[in-house]
Amino acid sequence: MPLDTVDRTPPSLFKQGHSALSKLMVLSALAVLLMVVDTRLRIGQPVRAAVATALTPLQWLALAPVRALQTGSGYFGSLQSAQQEAATARTELIRQAQRAAQVEHLTQENHELRALLAMRSKLPVKAQGAEILYDAADPYTRKLVVDKGQAQGVEPGAPVMDGYGVLGQVTRVYPLVSEITLLTDRDQAIPLLNTRTGQRSVAYGQPRLGQLELRFVAASADVQVGDLLTTSGVDGVYPAGLPVARVASITQQGEGGFARVLCQPLAHMEHALQVLVLEPLANGLPDENVKPVTQARPGSGQGPKPGRAGQESPR
């Protein structure tokens, strides 16, 4: 029998480091501290970024078989379904082209009208494409991870949309990837505008249903099933006019005086592949020195500071 099969360095009997109980105490306290730092103080980001960077090669490695399977399954799709898809895409393209021509005209008109009313002109929003890597595995939240990060200029708070509507918001940015919280997440809210009536409201995520809920809508409010809701732009994060959801159901709630309005998001929340990361609106204000065209609030000496909106944490 060769000698190297025998463990020739027997463990020492008396020097075994700290006791398991003391290690448990110290490390549990450290874990609890990390949790508090992460939830309350919001300074856990450097720790996260460091660990995420160390994990990146492992994540790419783990993702490789998943990607191979996804692309591999494409090879076995039938010719017919591919042709059908192409036809649908062509129809959609024609529809979009017609709409784009309309928008061109309306933009010009809007520009002139705004000039006439001496209102501040809107800035075009910058955007960059990104690919979804995977759904975050945490079963309590609705999050995605995309392949663009700090290195590509993604900023926390940036709105994200797919080809159909607003998908969510960038909530954490790592050096190479970033995390998007979907609108259907429990903690996510988005200000909306009903395009039919012009009524503004705020929608909150309903993760169990995969829908959005308009809260505190008066039972007598003019909301109908099928109404298109777009971003209202009052939050300084989402640009105005992006399609978000359609009203799916309205339930009158007994004595409350409020209606329970559920909306189906237009974006493909669960199976989007490519997304567009927009630049947060607050960074795109034309001039810091221009006095904002809002009424001064009673009590406060000056109007809201233009640079601050939307910089607060998205949660």
């Binding site: 490390l27 730092v37 995420a52 595995a137």
Partner: protein, 177 residues
């Protein structure tokens, strides 16, 4: 010779690099499964927790609570979960593992799995509690399946992770032992 019930033969000493490789592979496999199944599958067994508990029970001097903590931190960041959630759960799992490691291995494999179940359940329950306190609400009921599946995988882990140590050594005609 008195042998533990779960063990048929004398084992060769473990190679430290094999422990590390197996822990990293468990993490890799867990990530692949999570990403392949589209995320948010509460019932998915945490292979990393199983591998950590296994090595802590079998090699308490090589794999300790600190390593469990570090792996937990990595999983937290990967999942985008609350930072420290898995770290705390794995720390407690590691402690419970070190408490039982002297007696656990004297049982047969099915009994070992049964005894590992409360430990794994405790690690999961701690995570549910932490998220409840953090305001995330209750998980889906299928989360209860995760510790069960992990305990069911214990015999498989035993077979896979101890395989290199079960290799027959080179036979020697003169000294037949």
């Amino acid at each position: 010779m008195i042998m533990p019930a779960g063990q048929q033969q004398l084992l060769l000493p473990v190679r430290p690099w094999f422990i590390w490789i197996s822990l990293l592979l468990a993490l890799l496999l867990e990530m692949t499964l999570e990403m392949g199944l589209g995320g948010r599958t509460a019932w998915l067994p945490e292979l990393l927790a199983l591998a950590l508990l296994f090595w802590i029970v079998h090699e308490p001097l090589r794999v300790n609570i600190g390593i469990a903590f570090l792996f937990g931190l990595g999983l937290d960041v990967h999942q985008g979960a609350l930072l420290g959630q898995h770290a705390l759960a794995f720390t407690v799992l590691g402690y419970l593992g070190t408490r039982v490691h002297r007696r656990l291995l004297w049982f047969a494999l099915p009994t070992q799995a049964l005894q590992a179940l409360p430990l794994l359940l405790a690690a999961h329950a701690l995570q549910w509690l932490v998220r409840l306190l953090a305001g995330a609400g209750w998980p889906h009921w299928s989360a209860l399946l995760a510790p069960l599946l992990e305990a069911l995988l214990w015999p498989l882990a035993d077979w896979l992770l101890l395989a290199p140590q079960r290799r027959p050594h080179e036979p020697d005609e003169n000294r037949p032992l």
